[in-house]
């Protein structure tokens, strides 16, 4: 670090920067003119296509990309290229995150205090430009979420401090109530706080948007659960699985078929669906035991596609592309969530019928399932089998020479991961009431894998953060339609370049000699995947 400071500052607009900008512009122009500047238009049924020019759009696009790159180069890269970190160049960059959090927290407090303010702000912003409405919506949502999570964290922290005296000696957790205090302890309280917020979410979002918010949260939780399931296979056992959606599909179709053909209830079908998926996990896992790395990836991808094609073509069983409809809905201990009829939920409890009851119930069911997944995974990690998974991820040869049975280790990882996928699938089927092969494409597998990798392999809380970021924002920007997926793809690339080890990349070994220490990503040698 000592030698870095003496570099003479380059002029802001050096010839290098200008040349770089020129090259970038030229390249972008080639790329955009070829695909944006010349557009193929369909003339109508059976009349072929014609070509139209949109050169101005292409030039604007190329210019804006160049401008962004130029600004980045002049303001950030130029300074960080000589080995200086961003933090030392831009004063206050470190505290930027903290400042932002405080601003969000205060804004969230104001928004939470005046309930009508948020909708008012969104409406005003949308008047200026429709997209601004979405942006304000997202920002205010983030602010409120920050506020409540911080509040919950503070509450958890307070409880820890007050009970520290009695808990002393029982657990290491009491140590964090020392003077170093609040900020450093937050890392430990974040998961608990997140859980608290998740538990009381239906009360937090009261208002006209309640149904939408809970639906989105349910959607996110399905992906959290899938992510946790895949994390067992990819994050813990280190087996790259690109066909995870197959197990999700098996679970969904198992429930749908059992429920529609035999009329069995959800709670009977759920374990069965999990079992079927686990069996499929073993069946598909068995042939690929000898394969490693990328071969494994392509064969699992192929299996995922095979399952989807079979679902699409086996008309008599799965209904083909039309799928299975009118799948029985989930009931609350035999009480249905219908407006009228026998044994409805609202009649039994003597409350007025409200469709929101069902939404909230589904939310709690998936929350419970996801938490069960997490709990089981965390416990499994402490069992010999879980440690064998992690050992397998680190070094297969060492594993074998130490007498670990790699066959059962791999198969159990596949089976357990598949089982969670199956649970999520049967929940998905009962929530939608309709499934078709279209819901189980490779894109889903890629999305779940992206959640696991962006969250940080093997990190349970990382999966939650990544799922909220990816699925939540994709849901918020639904109106943008195809631009949504474009932004999604770009975000995937940018986040990965920014943090190659994922958002939460600490690796806590589950077996330790004296004390557990989280190894930050900066200290984990790169390349030791």
């Amino acid at each position: 670090m000592a030698e870095t400071a003496v570099d003479a500052p380059e002029p802001l607009l050096s010839t290098g920067a200008m040349r770089d900008a020129a090259i970038t512009f030229g390249l972008c122009l080639i790329l955009t003119v070829s695909l944006v500047g010349l557009k193929t238009d369909n003339l109508g049924e059976g009349q072929g296509i014609t070509i139209t020019t949109h050169l101005v759009t292409a030039v604007i696009l190329a210019a804006s990309v160049t401008a962004v790159r130029f600004l980045l180069g002049v303001l950030i890269w130029r300074n960080t290229a000589h080995g200086q970190s961003l933090a030392s160049v831009i004063p206050g960059f470190v505290s930027l995150g903290r400042t932002l959090a405080i601003v969000f927290f205060l804004a969230g407090a104001v928004l939470a205090a005046r309930s009508g303010l948020r909708t008012e702000l969104i409406a005003k912003a949308a008047e200026v430009y429709p997209l601004f409405g979405n942006l304000v919506d997202l920002l205010t949502f983030g602010a409120m979420a920050t506020f409540f999570i911080f509040l919950a964290m503070a509450a958890v922290h307070f409880v820890r401090i007050t009970t520290a005296g009695t808990a002393k000696g029982k657990s290491g957790a009491s140590k964090i109530s020392s003077a170093s205090g609040f900020i450093s302890g937050l890392g430990h309280e974040f998961p608990v706080a997140l859980l608290l917020v998740a538990l009381i979410l239906p009360i937090l979002v009261l208002g006209p948007q309640q149904r939408y918010a809970i639906d989105t949260a349910t959607q996110i939780l399905i992906y959290v659960m899938l992510g946790w399931g895949l994390n067992v296979v990819v994050g813990l056992a280190g087996l790259l699985d690109l066909g995870y959606v197959a197990f999700y599909a098996v679970g969904a179709y198992s429930y749908a078929l059992l429920a529609t053909q035999l009329g069995w209830s959800f709670w009977v079908c759920l374990p069965l669906a999990g079992l079927f998926s686990a069996l499929w996990g073993i069946t598909l896992g068995f042939p690929v035991l000898r394969l490693r790395g990328d071969y494994l990836a392509i064969v699992t991808l192929a299996f995922g596609e095979i399952v989807r094609i079979i679902l699409q073509n086996w008309q008599s069983l799965t209904g083909g592309p039309n799928g299975i409809s009118s799948i029985p809905r989930l009931s609350f201990f035999g009480l249905t969530f219908a407006r009228s009829g026998d044994n409805t939920f609202s009649d039994y409890f003597g409350i007025e019928f409200d469709p929101i009851h069902r939404v909230v119930f589904l939310y709690y069911v998936i929350l419970l399932l996801a938490l069960a997944t997490n709990f089981v995974t965390l416990r499994l990690r402490r069992l010999p089998i879980g440690r064998a998974w992690e050992a397998l991820r680190e070094d297969e040869i060492a594993c074998r020479s130490l007498g670990i049975n790699t066959v059962t280790t791999k198969l159990s990882a596949f089976a357990i991961g598949a089982m969670f996928g199956g649970f999520a699938g049967s929940f998905f089927a009962s929530r939608q009431g309709f499934i078709s092969p279209e819901s189980f494409t490779f894109q889903e597998s890629a999305l779940v894998l992206a959640i696991v990798v962006l969250g940080g392999l093997g990190s349970q809380i990382g999966v939650v953060v990544a799922a909220v970021a990816l699925v939540g924002s994709a849901e918020r920007f639904r109106e943008l339609q195809e631009y949504r997926m474009l932004i999604f793809g770009l975000a995937m690339v940018l986040i990965m370049i920014w943090r190659p080890r994922g958002l939460m990349s600490g690796r806590t070994p589950s077996a330790v000699l004296h004390e557990a220490r989280t190894v930050s990503s900066e200290f984990v040698q790169q390349g030791r995947g």
């Binding site: 990819v234 394969l291 064969v299 990798v453 631009y483 690339v493």
Partner: protein
């Protein structure tokens, strides 16, 4: 027999296209050990650029088909090569030396981005192109069933053979090929010996993209219709072909492409076209179970 011959011709044509895409996968895997998931999308971009070039030429009043094809080939190869270079520069180079899954995720991200970029910029509907090359030879005719070898098929097979020959020369005899093989064996040592590793890797992507563009043009000529989603299925098939032939091996990629093309066509011809993809993928799984390093690949020796 006639039916068999016809299927064989169709299979070889399809296999040539897969083989050309598969080379891109296998080269990139050989040199940096990553699955370039976006390669199927590069193929799709290539075929779109070829389509746009041909249509622009027609709009400008140049209606000669050979001129249009040659021009489209050159333009598609060069522009797609720029795309390939840019993708490597933006999404893969910053992650070189990072852990194994990171570039795979950016590749999936690039694949999603390209698909949607083309969908937005060119429209989601499929683009039909009137057949450019009509007619062909009738090889034999019995009981009203004619075995035909169309000019388009001849063009595809001949172009593939020429490209393969040129490509083998490039890898085997030129300094660039030597540098590439050196990087494949040991990147650090190659750098110490004065090989510009970054440049070699970039060129690998450029060559792979150019070959994918050729495949894109052929796909367009052969099927006459493309949409923004063609890259996904073709990409998976081509990757299957690369793995089947032994990933990292160039003759293997071509052989794998032919095998996949033949399996697909024969399955569709003799059994049912619904399950042709299942057949291709099942063969892949079976081959890998018994020959884990593919048909022509070297078995990986693991050093501790």
């Amino acid at each position: 027999m006639d039916y068999f011959l016809q299927q064989l011709i169709n299979g070889i044509t399809l296999g040539s296209i897969y083989g050309l895409i598969a080379i891109g996968y296998t080269m990139v895997y050989g040199i940096i050990g990553m699955i370039n998931f976006a390669h199927g999308e590069v193929f799709m971009v290539g075929s779109f650029i070829a389509l746009i070039t041909i249509l622009s030429l027609f709009a400008l009043g140049i209606t000669s088909v050979p001129v249009a094809l040659v021009f489209a080939l050159v333009v598609a190869m060069s522009v797609t090569a720029v795309w390939g270079w840019t993708i490597e520069r933006v999404a893969y180079r910053p992650l070189r030396g990072s852990f194994r899954l990171a570039p795979l995720i950016t590749a999936i991200g690039i694949s999603i981005t390209l698909q949607n970029f083309v969908q937005i910029s060119q429209g989601a509907r499929s683009k039909p192109l009137p057949p450019l090359i009509r007619g062909g030879y009738i090889l034999s005719e019995h009981d009203g069933f004619a075995v035909s070898l169309s000019y388009a098929q001849i063009l595809i097979i001949v172009t593939t053979v020429i490209l393969m020959a040129g490509f083998s020369f490039l890898i085997g005899k030129t300094p660039l090929g030597r540098a590439q093989r050196a990087c494949e064996q040991d990147r650090k040592m190659a750098a110490l010996c004065g090989v510009n590793v970054d440049r070699t890797i970039s060129l690998t992507f450029v060559i792979g993209a150019a070959l994918a563009a050729v495949a894109g043009l052929m796909f367009l000529v052969y099927y006459g219709v493309i949409d923004f989603f063609v890259g996904f299925v073709a990409g998976i098939k081509a990757f299957t072909a690369a793995v089947l032939g032994g990933i990292g091996s160039l003759p293997g990629a071509m052989l794998g492409g032919l095998v996949i093309g033949l399996i697909e066509v024969f399955w569709a011809g003799y059994f049912t076209s619904q399950y042709k993809d299942v057949a291709a993928f099942s063969i892949l799984a079976i081959v890998l179970i018994f020959l884990p390093s593919g048909l022509l690949g070297r078995p990986e020796v693991e050093k501790v």
